[in-house]
Amino acid sequence: MAIADSQATVLRASGAVARRQAVSRAAGWVLLAASLIGVAILIFLAYDTVREGASRLSWRFVTNYPSRFADQAGLRSSILGSAWVMGLTVVVAFPVAIGTAIWIEEFAPKNALLTVIKLNLANLAGVPSIIYGILGLAIFARYFGLGPSIMTGALTLSLMIIPMTVIAAEEAIRQVPQSIRDGSLALGASHWQTVRHHVLPAALPGIMTGVILAVARAAGETAALIMVGAFTFIAFDNTSPFEDFTTVPVQIYNWTIRPQADFRHNAAAAIIVLMVAVLSLNLLAAVIRERFRRD
């Protein structure tokens, strides 16, 4: 009886255990608070933007060219410009980035040079975008004579997102279990066949995640594009990658710096359009990713 009684009391948290459990519960609340701060700020910003811009949202706002009259100005040319630049950026950057990641992870000799390359990639991913803008202006716009064109913008954004995409793709490739590679190689598959049929499909969901983040960053990029000369008045539809252009974030910046309050409503409305577009892209990419993951 005595033993049973003492065991019953021992099983109720007391002393050190009670303290540790209290700390554990407190940690849960602190972490929740940390998460809520971010969410609350995001909700407030979204609410403020919608309040400012909702009145300007209409189909005509999307289909009109820019104008010096705030109530007639629209996003037509900047949406087209963004679509052109994003499309070209994806086409240029991803083959290069994924190719680089595969080489680094699968084929490169693991030596000091590779360490230097990887370190530089990590540094490049942290370089401010305005620097890429200066580089793009000097090399693509001036040296190659492409001027402030869609091609210049796309190549500049490609340079900007290649490092971060390489790092994300590398990480995804590293996550593929060695046992899958061993299984394939033990069947007499060559290194490339193993990468092509097993490593890449297994790494694809992870690579896609990196790609989505990179696209989202490029889609919102302003500074680098202003630098290469996208800060212009475009009142025509782009039909070739060698034309002048503007993009939605540059248009937003353009409207924000004007003194008239009406243009600020335009800017807020354009932010809503951009957010919806980026969110839809992310959603689409997530759906594609899930499909790959299931197959």
């Binding site: 693991k110 279990p177 046992s179 899958i180 590679r181 061993d182 299984g183 394939s184 190689l185 033990a186 069947l187 007499g188 598959a189 060559s190 066949q193 049929h197 097993h198 499909p201 297994a202």
Partner: protein
């Protein structure tokens, strides 16, 4: 260097006739003892001469000389970390995939040194299949798992027939014939391992190396794999690493006992027919190991 150096393993006080002396009386040749014990009279498929192996600076195998007979099951037994898996992976050059390894000595397969300069590891692995410790089916359908090896090796025949034949050989066909499109990972552990065996068979190899193929399986699944091994040995040469001595006794024709010295380098201690090794071990350490006194 050519002879088996086991002297460092032996406590200096222990004066027993060792492996070499025991063989010397039987077969008078240049290295009578080694040949008598370590080279079975059947035609050899693999012939190892002074095989040593290093991970970086750490030696894992020391002067292994032995041969593996054709169309027999040879078991490699020994305590964890004795180098038996490394020895197995030397036979199809799977160790090449690990950085900083070094191989010395000769591994002859049908008379050819597989580590010679002009030998391609992909050709080696095509002929020398491997089944791993943990079942590692590809995250693809059962059909694609079985077909992959043949496909990458440029098989031109009827793939459906090959898949069926391989799955039948691996005693899996009846269990999966109605859902070949199902993903291989959905099978039970034992079925997955038989799928991995089927996958290896579809390449039509000469040898199948098995690295503790049953260590992740329950007793019933283990028994099925063991029956399968006895079935397959009519057509293939099988070399199996196992830490389960009952398994070695049940499935193998020959057994080799490998033991690491104080520095961690594995030595071949004793090699002979499974019957002799388990009933009349010649070395005291073999006897102690098989009777469960260490390891």
């Amino acid at each position: 260097m050519a002879e088996l150096d086991t002297s460092i393993l032996r406590p200096p006080t222990m004066e027993r006739p060792d492996v070499r002396d025991a063989g010397a009386a039987l077969a008078p040749s240049r290295e009578p003892a080694v040949d008598a014990i370590l080279r079975p009279s059947e035609p050899a498929l693999f012939s190892l001469t002074d095989l040593s192996f290093w991970y970086g600076h750490k030696q894992v195998l020391a002067n292994i000389s032995m041969s593996f007979p054709m169309n027999k099951v040879t078991a490699l037994i020994g305590p964890s970390g004795c180098g038996k898996s490394t020895l197995l992976r030397c036979l199809n050059r799977m160790n090449d995939l690990i950085r900083g390894v070094r191989v010395a000595g000769r591994v002859e397969y049908r008379g050819q040194d597989i580590y010679a300069r002009d030998i391609d590891p992909v050709e080696v692995r095509r002929r020398i299949g491997m089944v791993f410790q943990k079942p590692n089916p590809f995250p693809k359908s059962i059909y694609e798992n079985a077909a992959f090896g043949a496909r990458v090796n440029g098989y031109r025949g009827n793939m459906d027939e090959l898949v069926e034949r391989s799955l039948r050989q691996a005693a899996l066909w009846d269990e999966v014939k109605d859902d070949l499109k199902q993903i291989g990972l959905a099978l039970s552990g034992g079925q997955q391992q038989r799928l991995c065996i089927a996958r290896a068979l579809a390449v039509q190899p000469d040898v199948i190396l098995m690295d503790e193929p049953c260590s992740a399986l329950d007793p019933i699944a283990t028994l099925k794999i063991e029956d399968l091994i006895r079935e397959l040995v009519n057509e293939f040469t099988i070399i199996i690493v196992t830490h389960n001595m009952q398994q070695a006794a049940r499935v193998s024709d020959y057994t080799a006992f490998v033991l690491a010295d104080e520095a961690g380098a594995g030595h071949l201690i004793e090699y002979g027919t499974t019957h002799d090794l388990f009933t009349t071990p010649k070395d005291r350490r073999t006897e102690e190991y098989i009777t469960g006194r260490f390891g």
